[in-house]
Symmetry: C2
């Protein structure tokens, strides 16, 4: 993988899937099985119903999540598709990275912020 990486739009495509606040976290939250919207919201923390719906629709559009309407209203479940499941490993790689190096990033931010104050 050389500079195809930069040229090939498939790489861009993968990054675009991560280039948003909720996509990766929603995929991760669904890793163990289907969830209903309310439960999903609880796990995600401060996400509004509107943003959750948008996010899930986006993931559905990209083939990563499927929506199942079991019954009629108020009986909905979201789950990972097979394709969505393949994204868990890369996502986890970032999670692991965060646990190892998150402190260093925050330290760098503090440093940069202090420097900015001095200037």
């Amino acid at each position: 993988m050389n500079d195809v990486f930069l040229a090939d739009c498939r790489a861009r495509l993968a990054f675009d899937l991560m280039a948003n606040t909720w996509n990766p976290v929603v995929l991760w939250a669904l890793r163990e099985g289907p969830l209903r919207p309310a439960e999903l919201r609880r796990r995600l923390g401060g996400i509004s119903t509107k943003v959750l719906t948008e996010t899930v629709r986006r993931l559905e559009f990209n083939g990563l999540v499927s929506r199942r309407d079991c019954g009629r209203t108020a009986k909905v479940e979201y789950s990972l598709t097979d394709l969505g499941t393949t994204l868990l490993a890369p996502i986890e790689a970032f999670g692991e990275w965060a646990f190892r190096y998150g402190d260093e990033v925050m330290a760098a931010q503090d440093e940069a912020a202090r420097f900015r104050d001095l200037a």
Copy 2:
């Protein structure tokens, strides 16, 4: 790594580093050594000078990239810090994913788009 993943803000921090169009690609472009801004722009494709500067400043702020002013004007180099280098592996994981599954994503998009047209 259970639901700490969702609660711990360090995970958010890592995702935020990816949650933007240019951050990951710039890091990747710098993987083999320092680059001057003009060369960096060439490798990235359609990025404006303004956006490149913003991106690189952001990465600098987070301790992932360092700017070296060799001489005075028009003699600048950007390179990965040690911390920035640790992000290459997770980024590559997404690149690999894209090459394996990018076609499936695009197929899903086409499918969804067609379905939308019918509806």
